[in-house]
């Protein structure tokens, strides 16, 4: 129970003794050197040392630009504000769906979960349809308050609102999961000591979720820093952020150093935040100390007023979450002009958009390419990092820290620069990758996809491992189980819901990736993002906007499906497995009859190798 937190057993010396660590370490070192450090160093050098000597030009230019400073300030403001608001809303919806007894919590869950499946420009547009100056709600409000400013929903406030709702996905997935790991006995104990619902939440439950909360907070911060669409659509003149500028500069060879500098500023501040939060969670214990912990049971809110209030807010939020989705689906049937002017009538809804998108020559192929790429990258990233995250969680020493921070490099640079780095590093035979040329192969995009997903995957996995008591591992090890076996049979089941959620999210975000794919995709194997971009881009086509909506809805369908397949089902399994000690029937799953236990054994591959080969 103590191995994890003790200074003992986590020394560099003991770490380097484990063959498993050495193996993972070797692979990791190579991967980091080849795909994180070398390519990015290359771009940075080529941007900051264009002719061999350092140029401070970028800093000079940036710091003397009022606009850059203001946008940068806005980005930070948004990031900080989001870190707070997302937590407030996110924790609230998690509690409503997972912690409190709320009527219709499954429906609420589905509503809140809608952000799983869409985001970006369409999301912002969705909100604009509702609250914008010509939006439905605004029109309604105007009939009641004719003096109201029709453009009330704009600027910082609007951006914050929209991004807050858009970013709670991580809470729904990960905080919800982590909550399931809280030992119910401690809640009972706290209640017994006289603690109110609120005190229990604040002092018992939330502190146990710290690693996950911190991880999602960092993600919210990062999302805020990188905000692009919402400020563009809703920010107005007053509230523009730095990302559009970074994108413009990244695209211009002459200004790339500015882009890199800005990105590095944002990236480093994220890493700084990470360091602060890692420090804050360092000495805590986030796994249950009970001998056998019992599963969470939903809490009734006793105070009728509070109960009514929570129900009301929950359903209000439900409406806020679902309305944009409904509209997006609706608008996907309207023609582009109607979407842009915000005027639709029942008659103008046709299937034309879908017909156009689905019957184009490229057809289904990009969908398949993207699904395969995303799935592969997801499996590699999550699968590989499972080990890494566990090791980092277990060995808390400086070597581990160095590795951990190196793995966050992709957060420092925008994906376009990451892609450029890969190209300039591997467009000639390079000994780091066995002397082959990677550009022009199908592998390079996969590498990039894996790379960009590393920081997120690592953070979330590490957070979910924090709730695993290492004595489980010890018990398995002493029964002779090898590291991999322990992993598969003991650790994996415990972090599976989180891992599945991470995988699903990774998969979903990679599906329509454009920034990386544009540089690295093999011309014959083009992923969806490029096709979407071609069909939706810019002011060049009225149909473009309509196509955006169609693609969004199509992606919603795919991602909704993956969410259901991966997360929805494993979520159910988790709930079924952890029935608790305390009262009431929890789930009426009958105890598994014996044959099941037997077949489970058979399921383990090679568990009964028919004829043992005479291997020494």
């Amino acid at each position: 129970m103590r191995g994890g937190s003790a200074g003992n057993g986590s020394s560099v010396r003991s770490m380097l003794r484990s063959p498993f660590v050495l193996m993972v370490g070797a692979v990791l070192t190579w991967f980091i050197a080849a795909f994180l450090v070398w390519p990015n160093l290359n771009v940075l050098i080529s941007t900051f040392f264009p002719d061999g000597s350092f140029s401070g030009r970028a800093a000079e230019k940036l710091f003397s630009s009022q606009r850059a400073m203001k946008s940068l300030g806005n980005s930070f403001l948004l990031a900080l504000a989001l870190s707070i608001t997302v937590n407030v809303v996110g924790i609230f919806i998690v509690l409503v769906t997972h912690y409190f007894k709320i009527r219709g919590s499954r429906i609420l869950f589905l509503g809140y979960a809608s952000t799983f499946i869409y985001g970006g420009i369409v999301l912002a547009a969705g909100y604009k349809f509702i609250y914008g100056d010509k939006g439905i709600v605004t029109s309604l409000l105007l009939t009641v308050f004719p003096d109201m400013d029709p453009a009330w929903f704009s600027g910082f406030f609007a951006v914050l609102v929209v991004m807050t709702f858009a970013t709670t996905t991580n809470h729904m997935l990960f905080v919800g999961n982590a909550l399931k790991g809280v030992d119910y006995l401690t809640i009972e104990a706290a209640r017994n000591l006289g603690a109110s619902t609120w005190t229990i939440l604040r002092r018992i439950v939330l502190p146990m979720l710290k690693p996950t909360l911190f991880a999602v907070t960092i993600l919210s911060f990062l999302t805020g820093l990188g905000a692009l669409s919402a400020p563009q659509v809703l920010g107005g003149r007053e509230f523009q952020t730095i990302t559009p500028m970074i994108l413009t500069f990244a695209n211009s060879a002459a200004s790339r150093d500015l882009a890199a500098l800005l990105a590095v500023i944002l990236g480093l501040s994220t890493i700084l935040m990470l360091a602060v939060m890692s420090r804050m969670e360092k000495r805590g214990t986030y796994y249950s100390l009970s001998k056998v912990s019992s599963a969470l049971q939903k809490q009734r809110i006793v105070n009728p007023v509070a109960n009514a209030a929570v129900h009301t807010i929950a359903y209000l939020l439900f409406a806020l979450y679902t309305l944009p989705v409904v509209l997006i689906v609706l608008y996907s049937f309207a023609d582009g002009a109607a979407i842009q002017t915000g005027q639709i009538s029942a008659g103008s809804l046709t299937l034309d958009n879908y017909v156009r998108v689905l019957t184009q020559q490229s057809g289904l192929r990009p969908f398949i390419v993207s699904v395969v790429y995303s799935a592969l990258a997801t499996v590699i990233a999550v699968g590989g990092l499972l080990f890494v995250a566990r090791l980092l969680q277990k060995y808390k020493n400086w070597v581990a820290s160095v590795f951990e921070y190196l793995l966050h490099i992709p957060w420092i640079l925008p994906s376009a620069l990451l892609a450029l780095g890969l190209i300039i590093s591997y467009d000639h035979p390079n000994p780091l990758v066995g002397g082959t040329v990677l550009t022009g192969t199908t592998v390079i995009l996969l590498i990039a996809f894996v790379t960009v997903k590393i920081p997120f995957t690592l953070r979330m996995l590490k957070a979910s491992f924090a709730s695993v008591n290492s004595s489980m591992e010890e018990a398995a090890a002493i029964m002779g189980a090898k590291t991999l076996y322990v992993f598969r049979r003991i650790l994996l089941p415990l972090v599976l819901p989180a891992a599945a959620a991470i995988a699903a999210l990774n998969f979903n975000t990679l599906l329509d990736d454009y920034d990386t794919a544009i540089f690295l995709a093999h011309p014959l194997v083009q992923p969806l993002g490029l096709v979407i971009k071609a069909n939706t881009d810019g002011a060049e086509g009225v149909e473009g906007v309509a196509n955006t909506f169609v693609y969004t809805v199509l992606l919603m369908v795919i991602t909704g499906l993956t969410m259901y397949l991966v997360y929805g089902r494993s979520g159910q399994r988790g709930a079924g497995a952890g029935s608790g000690t305390a009262g009431k029937r929890r789930g009426t799953v009958p105890p598994a009859p014996l044959p099941i236990a037997d077949t489970r054994i058979a399921e383990v591959p090679d568990s009964r190798a028919p004829v043992q080969a005479p291997v020494p």
């Binding site: 606009r67 413009t248 695209n251 060879a253 002009a337 192929r365 544009i518 810019g538 473009g544 955006t548």
Partner: protein, 337 residues
């Protein structure tokens, strides 16, 4: 694994080897890519069109110059190609139709590496239902010098697009001053400042025409090729301004990528694609203005008329190409608010 692309090997008359050509373009939207793939297949070329925005495609071509993946690039305007050529990513080649085009709108250098295909005018358009022709602005500068236009025109919020860059190229080159900052006089920069201060910022994912239709703004920049279609979609009528200095022309070009291992096939493709027939068909299909003189016949007569009437602004493209990066940077940092 690279499963076979759409094309079917059976249809291979004119082209050649059956190798797949990789073509980078920013001009594949709205069905252009599919159209080209199909037509090329009829002609016996197996092509794979890789679409990317102008800047992205440029960067990609430059980044890959050591180990190119593309064989042909087209659609990028002269500004982009000048940049690509400067980086040494394309190779001089004289297509079969070299004589049918006006080389003045192509590569100005001696060993010509990119060749013009399609002309595009970057115009200032206004809502003619609202503003009478005589009350309309006469030039870009009217927008911020005359009170009645202030806040009534859409101004860009980013200089990432070729159209926006051309507007500024058009504006700034009028104030060329070797002693000024980045070769532009203070007066010139003042104009830029005014442009941004008085315009209504563009809204992401909302087309200028949509804003005109809803009355938010009355005018803004627009490339000539889209006007007719948008007028229909958004049910507005737009007229364009003809400044006395002329309008900037963006000319889409085609080039052979340096270092391709399918050079011969690529050259054949360029010869085919730039030919009067194909350009004519393209112009007809997509309402564009071909450079190839032989193709003009097939183009939409209205378009041809328009280009016949329009005065081309005389722009020193070398000067623009040299400075555009710095201008964009300066504008982004100092003037865009």
């Amino acid at each position: 694994a690279t499963p076979a692309a759409s094309g079917d090997p059976s249809a291979a008359p004119a082209g050649g080897s059956g190798e797949t050509l990789v073509i980078y373009t920013n001009s594949n939207g709205e069905g252009r890519g599919d159209w080209l793939t199909a037509k090329a297949a009829e002609a016996g070329f197996k092509v794979e069109v890789v679409g990317a925005g102008g800047a992205d495609a440029t960067n990609k071509l430059i980044a890959e110059k050591n180990n190119p993946i593309a064989d042909v690039a087209f659609g990028l305007n002269n500004m982009y190609f000048a940049q690509i050529k400067a980086e040494g990513a394309i190779e001089p080649y004289e297509p079969a139709w070299a004589g049918e085009v006006d080389t003045a709108v192509g590569d100005p250098g001696g060993d010509k590496a990119y060749w013009p295909l399609v002309k595009q005018a970057i115009l200032l358009g206004y809502n003619s239902d609202k503003i009478a022709a005589d009350a309309a602005p006469k030039d870009w500068t009217d927008l911020w010098t005359k009170d009645e236009f202030k806040a009534r025109y859409e101004r860009v919020t980013g200089l990432g697009t070729a159209t926006a860059q051309l507007v500024f190229a058009s504006l700034l080159t009028r104030y060329k001053d070797d002693s000024g900052d980045l070769g532009i006089s203070d007066e010139g920069w003042k104009q830029v400042e005014q442009y941004f201060q008085n315009g209504s910022p563009a809204v992401a994912k909302t087309d200028l025409f949509a804003r005109i239709a809803s009355g938010e703004v009355d005018m803004g920049q627009m490339p000539s090729s889209i006007i007719a279609e948008r007028e229909k979609s958004f049910k507005v009528n737009v007229e364009t301004v003809a400044p006395s200095v002329g309008v900037p022309l963006a000319v889409e070009q085609v080039a052979l990528v340096k270092g391709t291992d399918k050079k011969e096939e690529a050259q054949k493709f360029i010869d085919w694609f730039g030919s009067a027939d194909v350009q004519g068909a393209w112009a007809k299909q997509f309402n564009s203005m071909p450079v190839n003189k032989g193709a003009a016949a097939q183009a939409n007569p209205e378009v041809v008329d328009f280009f016949a009437g329009v005065k081309q602004q005389d722009i020193d493209w070398d000067f623009v190409q040299e400075n555009m990066g710095a201008w964009v940077e300066k504008i982004e940092l100092e003037y865009m608010t």
